[in-house]
């Protein structure tokens, strides 16, 4: 490919540009460079070198200045949005943005938590690492139920790409033969503890159509592709020098760099894709250098937007021209609409009596997974379409169980030397329906510190999600009761859209250019050399953690793009 003449000649000219270096951008960079394309990877945040920049990795509990919680004042001043999401803590807060530099606005009756990691590697440094395939239960859902538009692909289109990506990334998990949660190319699974093993048995005995498996996670249970196995420290989001969980640092970017074809440029805020009206193609991108505030232009034959669903959408909305007054590749008007996330924060927990003589060794940064059992295999719910899966696990209470009671003294101290009772915790992650009314737009007034219009969110939950969240709590409680749990406590806590950090859907795929932004290969209907392969492409959400799907779609899109380029079809 690199031998073919480029129409864009010059010092800032490449065969391909990838915008973003997270989960999707890392894979785009690897695939493009391994196919011989000179590729520029633009990342808006600072550089993060593997291992070198994992500055808190070696901290012991007593080394943490605030013992696990970031300075409350600093959080309130600089990370008042980021700190509201579960994963942010003292030892990883430097991998999340400063909210004062990156504001956004809310429409009436809307809320959204936008959790971002502006650095090389993006949120692949801090992600939850859970990897589940979508199936035709998901790809056919919209068409089957008459919700919005049909996906332009089916499971068979993506299955080989799941294989390809799972083998590359390294996913530990257990094959279960569940048609709607297809098995993958798994490394050996992590172990369940005794309570989890019995809980699985109880579910299978007491409930048709339900089972439980160990979490399928992008964490290595053996050395793989030059990376080390998990050491069970449960410090993942600080960065892992063993390379035991997948990140762009130890995956896509590493392998792209090895080809010699990648130029990685951190601190490069892409704010516009340049559209060439004469050719009907994208010519390149405009960039503000975050450090020098210099404005730059880079050109390429093909452009991959992998800036996260909302990041890519913001760039397209901001790329206006006579041909595309409402944002590039937006002749359909779908751009920015159909925001989805995975509503969660509903479930149940209970004390699990017994097993007093059993404990565990090591901190497994993985839990269990209960695959969707609602509206599948004959189950039919009146209150909601689609379904949810549970994540969770069993553990024994530690010393903190002594807080909040009246005991003190020698006996009290001695009592905490032994672990407390076992408990089991189930947390639902549900599918959110695509709705036109859930959308982002450029705010007409508010700009960020670089003078760029910020996003304005119009997002809320519908009854479908509210009813589903109640069922997450009820069904979890039911399973805990059946397994002999004590003090079973269902909960439905406040949740804001975005809090699942699975935002998606704002440049959806579809067969009809009048209703969708992207075609079946993540290629913009309107602009043939423009691809969007992050979460923006999702036509529906599934309830599965989405990153492995983005990776598979990215690799598939690159394969298609390069084939088209080689055939002169782009």
């Amino acid at each position: 490919m690199s031998s073919s003449p480029s129409i864009n000649q010059g010092p800032n000219t490449y065969d391909a540009i990838v915008v973003g270096s997270g989960i999707s951008g890392g894979i785009a960079a690897k695939e493009l460079t391994q196919k011989g394309l000179k590729t520029l990877v633009l990342e808006r945040g600072r550089n993060v070198e593997h291992s070198v920049d994992y500055i808190t990795e070696e901290h012991r509990p007593w080394d943490e200045p605030f013992r696990g919680q970031t300075d409350r004042r600093k959080m309130q001043e600089e990370q008042y949005v980021q700190s509201q999401a579960g994963p942010v803590n003292e030892s990883n807060a430097h991998f999340f943005i400063n909210d004062r530099d990156n504001p956004y606005t809310l429409g009436e009756d809307s809320d959204f938590l936008w959790i971002r990691g502006h650095q090389v590697g993006g949120r692949s440094l801090t992600w939850g690492r859970q990897c589940y395939r979508l199936s035709d239960l998901d790809f056919e859902a919209n068409a089957r139920e008459g919700v919005e538009i049909d996906w332009p692909i089916r499971y068979e289109d993506i299955a080989p790409w799941y294989d390809y990506m799972e083998e590359y990334v390294g996913i530990s998990g257990q094959a279960e033969g569940i048609p709607h949660l297809p098995d993958g190319k798994f490394l050996p699974p992590m172990a369940m503890n005794c309570v989890e093993q019995d809980f699985r048995e109880s579910i299978e005995q007491n409930f048709d159509n339900r089972t439980m498996t160990i979490g399928r996670t992008a964490m290595l249970t053996q050395t793989h592709n030059g990376r080390g196995a998990c050491q069970y420290r449960n410090l993942c989001s600080r960065g892992c020098s063993y390379g035991a969980y997948y990140s762009s640092q130890v995956g896509g970017l590493r392998d792209a760099r090895e080809t010699g074809n990648m130029t990685l440029r951190p601190n490069s805020i892409v704010y516009e894709v340049i559209f060439d009206s004469d050719t009907g193609r994208a010519r390149g991108v405009r960039v503000i250098d975050r450090e020098t505030e210099e404005e730059l232009e880079f050109h390429a034959d093909v452009i991959f937007l992998c800036a996260s669903a909302l990041g890519s959408t913001q760039i397209l909305l901001n790329s206006t021209s006579n041909d595309f007054p409402d944002g590039l590749a937006n002749s359909s008007g779908a751009l920015g609409h159909y925001v989805m996330d995975h509503p969660f924060k509903a479930g149940a927990f209970a004390e699990m009596p017994g097993y007093e003589d059993q404990y565990y060794h090591g901190r497994r940064a993985n839990g269990i997974y209960i695959p969707r059992f609602r509206n599948v295999n004959g189950d039919q719910q009146d209150g909601f379409l689609r379904g949810y899966g549970y994540q969770g696990g069993a553990s024994r209470a530690g010393w903190a169980r002594g807080i909040g009671n009246d005991s003190f003294g020698v006996d009290f101290k001695e009592s905490l030397r032994e672990p407390g009772p076992w408990s089991m915790f189930l947390l639902g992650f549900g599918e959110m329906l695509p709705r036109y009314e859930n959308y982002v737009e450029l705010d007409p007034e508010v700009t960020d510190r670089w003078g760029l219009p910020v996003l304005r969110f119009h997002t809320s939950l519908s009854d479908n999600e509210q009813n589903m969240r109640q069922d997450m709590a009820d069904s979890a409680a039911e399973m805990l009761e059946a397994a002999g749990g004590r003090n079973v406590t269902p909960f439905v806590d406040d949740y804001a859209v975005g809090e699942g950090i699975h935002e998606m859907g704002t440049a959806r795929m579809g067969a009809d250019p009048n209703e969708s932004v992207l075609n079946e290969y993540n290629q913009a209907h309107d602009v043939p050399n423009l691809f969007v392969t992050d979460g923006a492409c999702m036509t529906s959400a599934g309830c599965q953690n989405p990153s492995i799907t983005y990776m598979a779609l990215t690799a598939r899109a690159v394969d298609y793009a390069v084939e088209q380029m080689n055939n002169g079809g782009l």
Binding site: Q76, P103, N366, A394, A397, K413
Partner: protein, 219 residues
């Protein structure tokens, strides 16, 4: 859910993948200065010594160090100086003052002058007082909360705003006990001598007999 419920939920979950940051997320913590010539920043030297002794009454030395041996009073001074807002700090310090008054009333001596048995009796009185006193939830304007530090927050109008800061004014015993326990069990002696901590476990075994594992994992 009130804070006591939140704490008990967290206690139940302790030991899971959620444990450490979740607990600390609610409770907070701070680096304990270990300089030999340490001087408190907010406490008086007398209050620091009184808190050291009270903490040691909650977690006394046995065959392992107690809370009075690992600098819990230094941790408490850091928390009230850099983490608490004014309302929390005043509330906590007035609790220290009342404990001292109770010591004088009951035993005719300062907290520092009491025997360990007398301190245990005093602690039992603090427990009973705490049981009788409900916690107060106070909403604090963020700017006001941090005014003492300068740099009031300016957030662009119309953008997603910081949440309202809510603080809970716990009865003295509960807050003291919480600070004592966090300070102790996240200290090196508390984590590694009283309990056990391995930075790099290297393996996961989900079902190991407790007698082989030994004590509670600190994290």
């Amino acid at each position: 859910m009130d804070r006591r419920q939140a704490l008990s939920r967290i206690a139940l979950l302790t030991g899971s993948a959620l444990s450490y940051s979740t607990i600390a997320g609610v409770l907070g913590g701070c680096e304990v200065p270990d300089a030999p010539d340490w001087q408190p920043e907010t406490l008086t030297s007398v209050q620091a010594e009184q808190l050291r002794l009270l903490a040691d009454t909650i977690i006394p030395a046995t065959d392992t160090p107690g809370a009075g041996d690992v600098g819990v009073e230094r941790f408490i001074d850091q928390i009230i100086t850099y983490w608490m807002v004014e309302e929390e700090r005043d509330h906590f310090l007035s609790g220290v003052g009342r404990a001292q008054e109770q010591a004088l009333e009951r035993f005719g001596d300062d907290i520092e002058g009491l025997t360990s048995d007398q301190r245990a009796e005093l602690m039992q009185e603090l427990v009973e007082a705490a049981e009788a006193q409900p916690a107060d939830v106070v909403k604090v304007e963020m700017d006001a909360a941090w005014a003492a530090y300068g740099d009031p927050v300016e957030v662009v109008e119309g953008t997603r705003q910081p949440p309202e800061l809510e603080v809970t004014l716990d009865p003295f015993f509960y807050r003291l006990k919480e600070l004592t326990m966090v300070g102790y069990y996240t200290s090196e002696p508390g984590a590694t001598e009283e309990l056990q901590y391995i930075h790099v476990p290297g393996r996961y075994d989900g079902c190991e007999p407790l007698e082989d594992v030994g004590r509670t994992w600190a994290v």
